[in-house]
Symmetry: C2
DNA sequence: TCTAAATTTGTAATCATTACAATTTTATAA
DNA sequence: TTATAAAATTGTAATGATTACAAATTTAGA
């Protein structure tokens, strides 16, 4: 993945902060929060500001190279994978993982029609790891 | 719908505030926010406190007679209809409507299995009304 | 009626996010 | 290269939703 080219081709000037934040998001697929992103990167970029993380993620979202995952109503997570997929959160361990899904199979029998442009599917339950624990 | 009985049979003592808030939520299907609920009910119950609205909704959720609708990451909406259904938000007019959906049709081909206990499906786009406007 | 428990209320605290102005960095032209 | 303007980053203050908490009110039972 050529991050600089990816940013540039999406009209985003590739500053150090932007490259690092996008790289982090792309490599860490567990859908981190702003705080996690900031904490994990501030060692690398000591001058990093949390405001920059917020600004940068907003910029990414406006340019469609990042999306939010709001599977909980009290935390916003971020995702750099833009291919359509669902999300599963384990309510035991808290992990949020990607789920391949065929969204086109979603046929809703609606009387009043509307045009769907975005679909978000959020699943919750227990993950394989937690199911196999004996406690 | 017998609201008092519904609350009682779900282990919730039917105080005036609880009855009115649940009744409001059940009758107004547009998935109101705390502020909307409070504003619309304070005329009816002049002593109503916003804290009571928060407390009561939390109580409803804990007892599974209400759920949250977090189709936007910056506002929490509430819903008293507990039958499984999806939600559609029109990005023109902001309306959030219910969508009948066959959740069982959702087959995800996952390598790592997990046990799904709750499913939330959020759709966004343009509603019928807004599509038919000439502007 | 009296008393304790439950509920409601108002205010203060918390915490995530945004606004904004100052500083720093980058790009451009002389 | 140097000067200047634009863009990006930063730190701090403001905002706003939610929660904590203690006081007041209401309800239920003896
Ligand atoms: Mn994802
Ligand atoms: Mn609904
Ligand atoms: Zn788990
Ligand atoms: Zn509309």
């Amino acid at each position: 993945m050529d991050f600089i080219n990816h940013l540039t081709s999406n009209n985003i000037k590739p500053s150090l902060q932007r490259i690092k934040i996008f790289e982090y998001l792309y490599d860490n697929r567990e859908h981190p929060t702003v705080d996690t992103i900031y904490s994990d990167l501030v060692g690398d970029i000591p001058t990093l500001s949390k405001t920059t993380v917020y600004n940068t993620l907003k910029l990414f979202i406006d340019n469609n190279i990042t999306s939010t995952v709001t599977i909980e109503d009290n935390e916003v997570r971020y995702d750099a994978i833009m291919e359509e997929h669902a999300h599963f959160k384990c309510e035991k361990c808290g992990n949020v993982q990607d789920v391949e899904i065929d969204v086109s199979a979603l046929k809703f029998k609606e009387k009043n029609s509307f045009k769907v442009e975005k679909t978000n599917i959020y699943l919750k339950g227990k993950c394989n790891k937690c199911l196999n624990k004996i406690n």
